[in-house]
């Protein structure tokens, strides 16, 4: 139902630190119609060309300054994932995505206040790395 909110177009790119490509990054809107504290993010999964990325290699951030593992994000109640603001998702992978075309799939789920199952959304995009 919220698939259209997932994986903002044109946001997937490799990310460098200290002259080295440390992984790749993408952005997504929330799979809900309101803001919630980041602790209510249930999970984020990423797969590349059909292969799942290990969840422990994923980092998330609301401000591109503080980055959290998913386990750490469970305790982040001070900051909210606002409706209309993206969540930044980084996958740590030496060298990032290789040159060429990739199918990158992003799945995001959040807990709501009153629906017993988390609200999940998925989108797959073709990403071209120059």
């Amino acid at each position: 139902m919220f698939d259209n909110n997932v994986f903002l177009q044109g946001t997937c790119k490799n990310v460098s630190e200290g002259g080295k490509v440390i992984g790749f990054e993408m952005q997504t809107n929330i799979t809900y119609y309101r803001a919630i504290p980041l602790s209510m993010m249930e999970y984020v999964h990423v797969s590349v060309d059909g292969e799942a990325v290990p969840d422990e290699d994923i980092r998330v951030s609301l401000d591109q300054n503080d980055w959290f593992t998913q386990k750490e994000a469970e305790t982040v109640t001070t900051y909210k994932w606002e409706y209309g603001d993206p969540l930044y998702i980084r996958v740590l992978k030496d060298g990032g995505l290789s040159k060429g075309s990739h199918q990158v799939k992003l799945t995001v789920a959040v807990r709501t206040a009153y629906i017993p199952v988390p609200l999940e959304g998925t989108k797959e995009r073709e990403v071209v790395i120059d």
Partner: protein, 336 residues
């Protein structure tokens, strides 16, 4: 004498906000242009940092209201009982969160809070001193799928009755008055691969004056076998169990509840070219409310945006304008 007023829930224009086609300011001005008298807001949706708003945000809110003359009718509030993954909030934590929401409503000049369905009844009594101090009433939402046959909803209503306070009540969502299965939902699901027979089944029940939710209840909480027999695809298995979210109560279900009803969500899926909403007879409902001396707002809550077919633009703006126009025309006819 009833005095029913038309408002708009800003929820109706959520996709405009999410995709940055409209700001909160644009939306408020647009709602005014549509002819609404009041607005309903989800602070968690369009006020960043809620409920810890800055003085600047609050001043800006009051400026927009002053510019438009719109009444800030109601704030839709949620209770994040599952804030943490490993445990549910304690009673005290729940109440502390809701006290913050009451204070926020007061700062925004709002005197009514909609508590989302399933908020437990035991929050009411400890909150009453705050409701009185800040002049904010709390009201539970009665929503299709979580309405009068659900224990949490009934417990809340019974507690409202027991406490005999003007500061607690209920909000009715018109999704409980579906006379036909929403066509936009059906078309969206057909496009996802669902089978038409599944929706024919639901429509047949609605035609007979009942609904799938009621039939499931009569069947001991299980989906009826002949309904499951209509399923052919994977999408049927996913969406089939969700088909019970469109209920078909008679208006008379409100006869004894009118003293406690503080507000209406005019949930709507599709204003048709011919005029009325496809599934819900708002004119009939407004006549009932007039006849029962309802004095309050009915706020347009457009839900069809969620069922926009892929590749099509959302029609939130047009649908909201049409609904407000229709409601105002009905009110003129009924109230004079």
């Amino acid at each position: 004498m009833s005095r029913i007023k038309a408002g708009v829930s800003l929820y109706s224009l959520q996709d405009q906000y999410l995709t940055k086609k409209m700001t909160l300011e644009d939306i408020i001005h647009y709602v005014k242009e549509c002819g609404a008298e009041g607005i309903e807001i989800l602070p968690d949706q369009m006020l960043k940092g809620a409920p810890d708003l800055t003085d600047e945000q609050v001043a800006d809110w009051h400026r927009m209201l002053k510019e438009t003359g719109l009444q800030p009718v109601i704030a839709d509030v949620f209770l994040n009982t599952n804030l943490y993954k490993n445990r549910t909030l304690t009673h005290r934590e729940c109440i502390d969160l809701l006290i913050k929401e009451i204070k926020q409503a007061n700062r925004l000049g709002i005197h009514l809070i909609r508590l989302v369905s399933m908020v437990p009844y035991w929050v009411i009594e400890p909150l009453l001193p705050y409701c009185e101090k800040y002049d904010v009433t709390i009201a539970i939402e009665v929503h299709a799928g979580m309405a009068f046959d659900v224990k949490a909803t009934n417990d809340f209503i019974n507690e409202v009755k027991r406490l005999k306070t003007p500061y607690a009540g209920i909000v009715i969502d018109t999704g409980i008055f579906c006379r036909k299965f929403p066509r936009v939902v059906k078309n969206y699901e057909l496009n996802n691969g669902a089978s038409p027979e599944m929706f024919d089944y639901c429509d047949k029940l609605l035609d007979q004056g009942t609904d799938l939710h009621a039939v499931i209840r009569q069947n001991g909480g299980k989906l009826p076998e002949d309904f499951v027999a209509t399923w052919k695809t994977h999408e049927d298995e996913i969406f089939g169990p969700l088909c019970d979210g469109y209920e078909n109560y008679p208006y008379e279900v409100m006869d004894d509840l009118m003293p406690y009803i503080k507000h209406f969500h005019f949930k709507m899926f599709e204003m048709t070219d011919e005029g009325p909403e496809y599934s819900i007879d708002f004119k009939g409902l407004l006549q009932y409310l007039h006849d029962h001396n309802y004095d309050g707002y009915v706020c347009t809550e457009y839900e069809g945006n969620r069922f926009t077919l892929p590749g099509h633009p959302t029609v939130e703006r047009e649908q909201v304008a049409r609904n407000v126009k229709y409601v105002q025309a009905c009110l003129k006819e009924i109230q004079g």
